[in-house]
Amino acid sequence: MKPTKEIVVAKNLSAGYKEKLIWSKANFSVKPGEFIGLLGPNGAGKTTLFLMLLGLIKPVSGQIKIMGKVPSQGNPKIGYIPQRRLQDSESRLVALEYVRLAASGTAWGFSLPKKTVLERQQALEVLKRVDGLDLADRPLSELSGGEIQRVFLAQALVSKPDLLLLDEPLANMDLRRSTELIRLIHTIAKEDQIGVILIAHDINPLLPVIDRIIYIANGHVATGKLDAIVNGETLSKLYNAPIEVLKDSKGRVAVLGVEEAVHHA
């Protein structure tokens, strides 16, 4: 067995500007095959953390390392699904082309015929892994929300990453489809020992697979196991406002009071 070296290590990390921090003192790590839920209210700075990992913005203070190195733009070892991208409803470009681009789009010039065949094969293989072989020749603009996310997942996987950063892939999806997609991501991440950080609005679809949580709210960042973070006491401290966490018999979670806390902050 290969030693479980951390993929991401963050120490005392702060984001924002010198005058105004978005959040500060984040300490967390991600190990191969680990599934991390990144939670918090809108505007808390979840995407900011992703941009930092992608090397697109620099931390104000503290340290962040990916595979032992400072993040830099264009790291092929990171697969990234940004938040909802605009789809041109008039465009008929097929899903396969988008997956191909993620593998070849950073090259100069154009692909010669031989290379094109290879790229197509590579794209089809990844689509197969996400149960999306039947989506390859369909226009992206005609796919459903869940199908589009599977294509985006294939796109993120095509460079064989060690780390997946998924920004709200479950937006606009019902619970059943969300659960299916999460299972798929989890299976692939376990097989390939990929560390996953997934931003979600609702924690419930993540419950069966989640290893740990990073919770950003009110400028603070808390990290730990689900039960250690998502409870009334910890969240109330984080938001500096009364938050209640309810659990039902099946283990489903409801967090109450966040709206009010965010509005008053």
Binding site: G74, L93, E97, G105, T106, W108, Q155
Partner: protein, 295 residues
């Protein structure tokens, strides 16, 4: 001028004979050569304009070019130089302000109107013929000289080589901005390169369709292609094909019917766009009734 001499040409149903007659005139040969080169360039660059959703910015850039062209005429130099300088400057400014700036239609519209006004001033200061202004605004491909054809060809080759070098990065940055940026494609770099491409392509396309009708070659063929293409390379091919076909047919008709070439070209691309939309709508309706019947 040219127009009156054209009245004499009569159309016969022998297309071979008609073509032969038409190509006897050197101004028609020049027009065909320039038109062909420009249609290819506009088809290629236009596809990127459409997938980057920059059609209004491209339109505005051509109006910035009008001020430049009119200024050049006033200064007694060829309008193409004024066009190149002004559109490139405008393009660089838009790229520097960021892609979001290029999508701000009110601001762009304001600058566009000012530039048009500036062009009007230059034209009125110019004591020569009003036909200069007319040909800048609506194109005058029948007045293209062999020197213009050579210049157009050189510029076109430069554009095509640039697109070929940038091709994959430009497609990636246009279709999938956030992922491309995360993968290390510089958005500012692509934006600057592309704005310069539009600027130069617009400058030469003005000869055929003029500033006001730049959409005819830079946007409409590509917009039609976008509705049909399943891959970017297919999109570019269809876009070139429509632009070429419209230019050729437009030139051919205008030889026998003495109305402006740009009117015919604009009408043909518009017709192709309409027919494509109509057929697609009908097909969607049909597939819906089929699936309803199956259900």
């Amino acid at each position: 001028m040219l127009k009156t001499s054209l009245m004499a040409n009569s159309f016969s149903w022998n297309l071979w004979r008609d073509l032969h007659e038409m190509l006897q005139y050197s101004f028609m040969r020049n027009a065909f050569m320039a038109g062909t080169i420009i249609a290819i360039v506009a088809g290629i660059v236009g596809y990127f304009v459409v997938i980057r959703r920059l059609s209004f910015a491209a339109h505005a850039l051509s109006h910035v070019g009008f001020a430049g062209a009119a200024g050049a005429v006033l200064a007694g130099i060829s309008p193409i130089w004024g066009l190149l300088v002004f559109t490139s400057g405008g393009g660089l400014a838009m790229a520097a302000l960021g892609k979001k700036a290029a999508a701000r239609d009110v601001q762009i519209g304001t600058v566009l109107a000012f530039m048009l006004g500036l062009g009007v001033l230059f034209i009125s200061l110019y004591k020569g013929y009003a036909t200069e202004a007319y040909s800048i605004l609506f194109g005058e491909v029948l007045g293209v000289s062999s020197g213009d054809v050579v210049l157009t060809l050189v510029v076109a080759i430069l554009i095509i080589v640039a697109v070929a070098i940038l091709y994959r990065r430009l497609i990636f940055a246009s279709l999938d901005e956030d992922v491309a940026e995360a993968k290390g494609v510089s958005m500012l770099g692509m934006s600057i390169a592309f704005m310069l491409l539009i600027a130069v392509a617009t400058s030469i396309a003005v000869q055929v369709v003029g500033i006001l009708l730049i959409f005819a070659l830079m946007v409409t063929p590509a917009a039609t292609a976008q509705r049909l293409a399943r891959s970017p390379s297919e999109g570019i091919l269809i876009s070139i094909l429509i632009a070429l076909l419209s230019t050729w047919i437009g030139l051919f008709i205008s030889f026998f019917i003495p109305y402006p070439v740009s009117f015919f070209i604009v009408s043909i691309v518009f017709l192709i766009y309409l027919v494509t939309r109509l057929i697609q709508t009908l097909m969607i309706k049909r597939s819906m009734t089929v699936s309803n019947n199956l259900a």
